[in-house]
């Protein structure tokens, strides 16, 4: 793990000097700004039961679907396409260090982008002048959910990138995986078949992986360790598969 920090700082640096990062950031903040002002409009029209933060985070999947593939599709696929993976792996560096370095760099940027949406809430707080508009509980819970679930999403993106040398393929694969885990599970959960007596265990498993339920719990202030464990174990699994993905490509090249 000697080179982890070297690779991490190099990757973060490369992300911060690349113009595509700033384009992605502008797009992200524009979309989030529209969502936020939409939420505020709804609140100004009529009184609502939940806090604005809870509604804002309800739409977290929208930026996740386009941000995560954009952030991660490049990391391993591009290195393989250019052939720089060969120079990287012939230096005294292990595959694990390379994958982890790239993973945490992408995760750092993901957090940075989400963190910048904190500015919206600050502006609301500053100009509304009323502490009641800003409920810190759901806000903190929402950001915590973003940080914990982001671990898994970025790991899935890195995994997709380890499978292909084509950035577009990696991006689409990452999108499909994210779609499956966020929307797909919810869709499967609504199927009639699961109400059968024999399907009880499957139903429990699907309920356990329901991302939207996790979000609800987090914003209500309930941090369930089972849910955290779901994301952390999923992350570890995806990263192990990414490392194997890189090494398998060498074995069978």
């Amino acid at each position: 793990m000697k080179h982890f920090t070297t690779i991490l700082s190099h990757e973060i640096r490369m992300l911060l000097v690349s113009p595509s990062t700033y384009i992605a950031a502008v797009l992200f903040l524009t979309v989030m700004g529209f969502i936020f002002s939409g939420v505020l409009e709804r609140y100004s029209a009529a009184a609502q039961e939940t806090s604005p933060a809870a509604v804002f985070f309800q739409l977290f999947w929208l930026p996740v679907f386009f941000m995560v593939p954009l952030l991660t599709m490049k990391c391993l696929a591009e290195e393989r396409r250019l052939g720089t993976l060969e120079t990287l792996l012939t230096a005294p560096v292990s595959t694990t260090e390379v994958v982890l370095g790239k993973y945490f760099a992408a995760y750092f940027l993901y957090l940075l982008l989400w963190g910048s949406t904190g500015g919206f809430f600050y502006i609301l707080h500053r100009f509304a002048g009323d502490a009641r508009f800003l409920d810190f509980g759901p806000l903190l819970g929402g950001y915590l959910f973003i940080a914990v679930s982001g671990l898994l999403y970025i790991a899935l993106g890195v995994f997709a990138s380890s499978l292909s040398r084509n950035q577009a393929v990696a991006g689409i694969l990452a999108f499909t995986l994210l779609f499956g885990i966020i929307i797909g599970v919810r869709f499967v959960g609504t199927m009639e078949v699961l109400n059968l007596e024999t399907m009880q265990s499957l139903r429990a498993a699907i309920d356990y992986t329901m991302v939207f339920r996790h979000l609800e719990d987090f914003t209500r202030g309930v941090v369930d360790t089972r849910q955290v464990l779901f994301y952390v174990s999923g992350t570890v699994l995806a990263l192990i598969f990414s490392i194997l993905g890189v090494e398998a490509k060498l074995l069978h090249s």
Binding site: K2, L89, T90, A91, P92, L250
Partner: protein, 339 residues
């Protein structure tokens, strides 16, 4: 630390099979410390594959590879510290500056921060890159990029340097620089280079290994290879006169093995170009001239000994390699399996 007596590189019966297709079959060779070895071979001969296995990037299917006495298969991490490698086509990140890239690579190669700065300056100076140290790599010309790759390979001063076609795409002036650079490494570091450019290999390398179809078809110094592959001295003679009967007799008088290999058509002045061969290794030129002029019936215009270039050796050796490959494999009795 490994002792200085072990050879820098030891390869024994190396085999690499890509999904059923053998790329390297049973290659064996050793490289002494401080030696410059040239890898020659046509495209797809297995040069790059062998180099990648040496660096530990690709696993071998069978065989044994030791770098400075360290086995690549079981202690790959240590081997990576002993090798500076420049891959084929020299992949570089396009969005970094030259000095920045070298700094990053230096840190990965575990050079301490204090030593790294002066070492980068030194390497930039060696490779004539000081002018472009703050330029972005993606905007450099091919020659500069190639030299950045070489600078990166020698950065950590490893005992072994492996470069896959380092002079490809360079102009003659830059080739000269690279050649001098490799020459300056001789004795201090072991260098393996592969190339298609034969004069290049001939000038820079102490020893040449010719590979074809995944096999070593010839190995030795360029001079050894000439002798081994051709096995005879060749002379070119431009002569006019009675060639059919009298000349062979006169030649036999000089040396019994001296024969006419080829006879060209006479030109306008009546001179024909002949190629003579002899198994005698010492120069027969003076004797030939003396006898032919003394005979009186010949008019000799020129005589010279043909020095086969490495190119001829290469073509002959790879042709020999093809024959070797195409020949039916010697039938060996398969050992009976006992249940």
């Amino acid at each position: 630390m490994t002792s200085a007596e072990t050879p820098a590189i030891e390869v024994r019966d190396l085999v690499k099979i890509y999904s059923g297709h053998p790329a390297v079959s049973k290659i064996s060779f050793t490289v002494a410390r401080g030696e410059v070895l040239g890898f020659l071979g046509p495209n797809g001969a297995g040069k790059s594959t062998t180099m990648r296995i040496l660096t530990g990037y690709l696993p071998a299917t069978a065989g044994e590879v030791n770098v400075c006495g360290v086995p690549v298969a079981s202690r790959g991490d240590e081997v990576k510290k002993l090798i500076g490698y420049m891959p084929e086509n020299n992949p570089l990140p396009d969005d970094m500056r030259v000095a920045e890239y070298l700094h990053y690579r230096g840190r990965l190669k575990e050079i301490t921060r204090r030593k790294l700065g002066p070492r980068i300056d030194e390497v930039l100076e060696l490779c004539d890159l000081t002018r472009v140290r703050h330029r972005i790599i993606g905007k450099l010309s091919k020659g500069f990029r190639q030299r950045v790759g070489i600078a990166e390979a020698i950065l950590a001063e490893p005992p072994v340097i492996i470069m896959d076609e380092p002079t490809i795409g360079l102009d003659p002036h830059q080739i000269q620089i690279v050649r001098d650079l490799i020459a300056s490494l001789r004795g201090r570091m072991t260098v393996i280079i592969s190339s298609h450019i034969l004069p290049e290999i001939e000038m820079t390398c102490d020893r040449v290994l010719i590979i074809n179809q995944g096999r070593v078809v010839a190995a030795g110094t360029p001079a050894d290879l000439r002798r081994e592959v051709f096995g005879q001295a060749r002379y070119e003679l431009a002569i006019a006169g009675e060639l059919a009967v009298a000349l062979p007799a006169a030649l036999a008088q000089i040396d019994p093995t001296l024969q006419i290999a080829e006879t060209g058509a006479p030109d306008a002045a009546g001179f024909s170009k002949l190629t003579l061969t002899s198994t005698r290794d010492d120069d027969l030129g003076e004797a030939v001239l003396r006898v032919l002029t003394a005979a009186g019936s010949f008019r000799v215009r020129s005589l010279c000994r043909i020095q086969p270039t490495l190119e001829d050796v290469f073509l002959a050796a790879t042709r020999r390699g093809w024959e070797l490959v195409d020949a039916p494999a010697p039938t060996t009795p398969t050992p009976k399996r006992t249940p």
